[in-house]
């Protein structure tokens, strides 16, 4: 596919009208190719949405694209039924608690630790930080069995706080890594002059670091929010009655065909919130992604 690209470039990019037209024509195949690709990329999500507004009986007879020939089959009955389903509303509530709770705790604890690693002096600081980096890739499978046992002993199995704290712990290495790298870039003079003015570390942290670090904190918060909102595994292991939306839908998967009028709209609802977050904070999301992967 890349081999097709060279033919596209037009030499001598003079900005006359003729050159512009020529260039537009020359890139036409590429534009069409990318447009088709873009549409294809949207088809699955679109299909989920259409399936979610069709009655379950439609799913066993004809595909979702029948909506184009029979627009009248569309119904929002699935959604209104879902909103009267206490299981789903409770699951959505649980998901929100987990996602918000985790995000707040990770941001606060991560920022504090990151500040210490960036600007406080203590013996072995860099070694501990390297240890934290090492924890970045530890698969959470390593902690499932031990924490399952420990939660039982502590009595926090199947509780919101148990699920949240697990997420927090596994979110912290990334949080500390991301924020520490950002905080290190804050000019030292600012901190020094604040210290000379007599501000203690807590004041500096709250009044200087947090406001200055806001872009990185925003990235981190969005990541944490999406990560926990979208989680399946942790809640599957540590919850039973405490079910976020993913686990709740997973409980319906066995009857995929007949429960599609629940599965499809619930899945679509579950991805609405991440989509809104994504579109509202796209810039921070991409920044966080770049800071996290390309160092």
């Amino acid at each position: 596919m890349a081999a097709a690209a060279p033919a596209i470039e037009v030499p001598a990019p003079r900005d006359t009208v003729a050159a512009k037209v020529l260039r537009a024509l020359a890139t036409a195949p590429l534009q069409i190719f990318l447009a088709v690709l873009g549409v294809l990329w949207l088809v699955p999500t679109f299909g989920l949405f259409i399936t979610s507004i069709l009655p379950a009986s439609a799913f066993t007879s004809k595909g979702w694209w029948q909506i184009f020939s029979h627009p009248s089959t569309a119904t929002f009955a699935n959604y209104s039924a879902l909103f009267h389903n206490s299981g789903l509303t409770k699951a959505l509530e649980t998901t929100a608690y987990i996602a918000v709770g985790n995000t707040v705790i990770v941001v606060v604890l991560g920022a504090m630790a990151a500040y210490a690693f960036a600007w406080l002096d203590f013996p072995g600081r860099d070694w501990v930080f390297i240890g934290v980096i090492g924890l970045l890739v530890v698969p959470l499978q390593m902690a499932l069995i031990p924490m399952f046992k420990l939660y039982d002993i502590f009595g926090i199995y199947d509780t919101l706080i148990g699920i949240i704290l697990f997420h927090v712990a596994f979110g912290l290495p990334f949080a500390i890594f991301l924020l520490r790298n950002f905080f290190v870039g804050i000019p030292k003079d600012i901190l020094e002059s604040a210290r000379i003015d007599g501000a203690n570390e807590f004041v500096i942290f709250l009044r200087l670091i947090m406001p200055l670090g806001l872009p990185a904190i925003a990235s981190l918060a969005i990541f944490q929010f999406l990560w926990t909102w979208n989680d399946l595994l942790v809640a599957l292991v540590f919850g039973q009655n405490v079910q976020p939306i993913t686990v709740w839908i997973a409980g319906q998967l066995r009857e995929f065909g007949t429960s599609i009028d629940i599965i499809a709209p619930a899945s679509f609802l579950s991805l609405l919130v991440p989509l809104v977050v994504f579109f509202s904070f796209q810039r921070y999301f991409v920044q966080g992604l770049l800071a996290g992967s390309v160092k």
């Binding site: 590429l30 949207l42 090492g134 912290l172 009044r207 993913t246 499809a264």
Partner: protein
């Protein structure tokens, strides 16, 4: 100076009191402690302790806090028996496929997208669309693609598309369920039916078929005609050998219709097709100027071809490729965005210099762009290896219960063994440690990269 508890009581920076003495040793320790302890405590309890415990636990049996010492048996169960009847080995095999295929594909697709979008004005729109799946949970993606992958071409979009393509290449046969009406005709719908009676120039072939519902009779069919023999030719008829209320098999009778549009082949005694013909509306066909010899006639398999029934995307054979396609749908956006950022950070003058020196676009891409992007490409590649090793949600949601064993991957196997019914914590721990061992090279790489940067 006070430490803990002073967070809100402290005056703002501007109104800070005059410089005081450096906080004492104890004060510094307390400050550090307040900043670090909560995070480190969580890391120790939720990550370090489990790390140690899981490693130890992996050498013990199924139940209890530790269970009975079993040595390396749990690890053995990963590889023994070393064949695909071992579900854990299936998981390892599948994950190996994932690692071999996905990082390379995602990186190259991302590179292609990044390079191509640089040339269009609306690149932001394109990037947003391709990046969108990154925000959605892998679980919801699984549900989404499960709808796409439904086997019935009436339900699954992918198979509906395949059907429209396949009906262009291989249109379904005109007589899908037909069967021969007499024992003289042998064969199967897959191979076609052959009239075993030897034929010579001047013979008449009778190819009667039954089991054709009235609504499946091809349009334009007329009363079947038993053709008269022609010297030098082999003639014959293909007809619906069924008459309401009875009739003689193998004999063309009134009210029995010919079957038009059927492709008939004349085969030599060696089985080679020497001529073919299509039946007319009364079912007759004519092979003209046949050299002397012994022949057979046959109705080709294409006549009996069933309509496209859909690929089993969710079946045991295709499930892993299906999962990989959905996974690439998720991650291509990530790869594209990271590589595009690398592209935009690339020194433009180097590219310009290459072009000025007369390099073609392809040469510039191969010899300048890709080498300069190599660090970014390798970051994407390594990130994808890690992600692929840990893949769980997508498989859990997309693979139906019946094929989950065929779709198994290491992370899913760990869950199934430890929590999904078997409750074998010893074997589960061993799988987790195995997964951990696989990511250790990347862990080492991360640390080395950091040490270099400091």
């Amino acid at each position: 100076m006070s430490t803990a508890g002073g967070i809100t009581a402290e005056p703002p920076v501007e109104a800070a009191p005059p410089p005081t003495a450096e906080p004492g040793r104890l004060g510094r320790w307390l400050t550090n402690g307040v900043f670090l302890t909560p995070a480190l405590l969580l890391l120790v309890v939720w990550m370090l302790y489990p790390l140690v415990y899981t490693i130890i636990r992996s050498f013990f049996g199924q139940n209890g806090y530790l269970g009975a010492w079993v040595g390396i048996d749990n690890y053995k169960s990963l590889f023994v028996p070393f064949n695909l009847s071992n579900p854990l080995l299936v998981a390892i095999k599948n994950n190996a496929i994932w690692v071999a295929v996905v990082p390379a594909l995602v990186t190259s697709i991302g590179l292609i997208f990044a390079v191509l979008t640089e040339r269009v004005r609306w690149s932001v729109a394109f990037k947003t669309v391709v990046f969108l799946p990154m925000a959605i949970s892998a679980f919801a993606t699984g549900v989404t693609w499960r709808i796409m992958y439904q086997q019935d071409p009436n339900l699954g979009a992918l198979n509906a598309l395949s059907r429209s393509v396949s009906s262009v290449i291989h249109s379904p046969g005109v007589l899908q369920d037909a069967a021969p009406s007499s024992a003289a005709i042998t064969g199967s719908p897959q191979t076609g039916y052959v009239l075993k009676t030897p034929l010579h120039p001047g013979s008449v072939a009778h190819l009667g078929l039954t089991a054709i519902p009235p609504d499946a009779v091809p349009g334009g069919a007329k009363q079947a005609v038993d053709p008269a023999a022609k010297p030098g030719d082999i003639v014959g008829v293909v007809w619906r050998d069924f008459k309401p209320g009875g009739g003689k098999p193998g004999v063309v009778e009134s009210q029995e219709v010919g079957l038009p549009g059927v492709s008939v082949q004349l085969r030599s005694s060696a089985g080679k097709t020497v001529q073919s013909a299509t039946t007319s509306s009364d079912g007759t066909f004519d092979f003209s100027k046949v050299p002397a010899g012994s022949y057979e006639t046959a109705i080709g398999a294409s006549t009996f071809r069933k309509p496209f029934a859909g690929y089993g995307w969710l079946g045991p054979k295709l499930i892993t490729p299906s999962l990989i396609i959905a996974y690439i749908w998720i991650w291509a956006g990530f790869s594209m965005v990271v590589i595009a950022a690398g592209l935009s950070a690339m020194p433009r003058d180097v590219l310009e210099a290459a072009r000025t020196d007369g390099a073609t676009e392809w040469q510039t891409f191969r010899r300048v762009t890709v080498p300069l992007l190599l660090p970014v490409l390798s970051v994407v590649f390594i990130t994808m290896i890690i992600n692929v090793l840990k893949v769980f949600d997508l498989v859990f949601a997309l693979a139906p219960q019946s094929t989950q064993a065929d779709a198994n991957v290491i992370a899913l196997a760990m869950w199934r063994v430890a929590f999904g019914g078997q409750n074998n914590f010893g074997a589960g721990s061993a799988i987790a440690v195995f997964l951990f061992l696989l990511v250790i090279p990347v862990l080492a790489l991360n640390i080395r990269r950091f040490k270099r940067d400091v």
